[in-house]
Point group: C2
Chain length 122, copies 2
DNA sequence: TCATTAATGATAATTAATTATCAATATCTA
DNA sequence: TAGATATTGATAATTAATTATCATTAATGA
């Protein structure tokens, strides 16, 4: 059966508290602040389990490390070119159907904004 | 000095004629149709040179192989989930500034549409 | 509390994509 | 046309990310 360990509680907690998707490296660094011995393999394992159970979503952005966020309503992302962090963005641009070529069936879409986050543009 | 070889001419020609971005595997397959002995390393090498010279752009789409297209005006892409091909899409959705969080500086963006292309939805 | 055994962490192994190596070949200049 | 050498193609090597291995540790039920 599955056990509730300090590591799992910690990792799930970090993702629950995070206001933005986190990478494996970020989870490992944040996790080690609270649990110094935390192993990379444990982070990978735990994240994979959470993705497989549908609790987490992978956010893949070209040029950025894969990040993970709690699964929730449709939204998009902003990638800061300076601190490399990924942020969630609310809302959806209109007019995507108009971009779709004739005869194509549009099923989903993703929008990735690039630039500087508030902290890095200050 | 740089030499004009059959391989380079072929690869550049394929990309010039293509109406959509091509992956290394597609370039290799298309290339071998005309030049059976074409080596994978040559495709990689030639594509890298063309990217470095600014003639080609890499198109990175999560879940799809990296594809390459001739560098030209700003546009977006459509990824077909059935044939896995990537297509160019003209135009840009409005209202991206409205999505950008306060204090963030928007510098660029990418839009990726997913679904079925004309051939695969027929 | 103790015994069972799932989970952990260090590290080796794997994977997929790309690059380096190098002998053979083809291009280009004289 | 011939010689110099850039390019090619087969394959080995590399790289980065992720997964497997396994002895040790720790969570849970009796």
């Amino acid at each position: 059966m599955e056990r509730s360990t300090r590591q799992r509680t910690l990792i799930a907690g970090l993702l629950a508290r995070a206001e933005r998707p986190l990478s494996i490296a970020e989870l490992l660094a944040l996790g080690r602040a609270e649990l110094p011995g935390l192993g990379q393999a444990t982070v990978y394992r735990t994240v994979r389990e959470l993705v497989e159970s549908g609790e987490l979503h992978a956010v893949e952005i070209p040029g950025a490390a894969i990040t993970y966020e709690r699964a929730h309503h449709h939204h998009h992302h902003f990638h800061c070119r300076r601190c490399e962090r990924v942020y969630e963005v609310e809302g959806c641009p209109p007019g995507l159907t108009a971009l779709t070529p004739a005869g194509f069936r549009l099923e989903s879409h993703e929008v990735i904004l690039h630039g500087l986050c508030a902290g890095c543009s200050a």
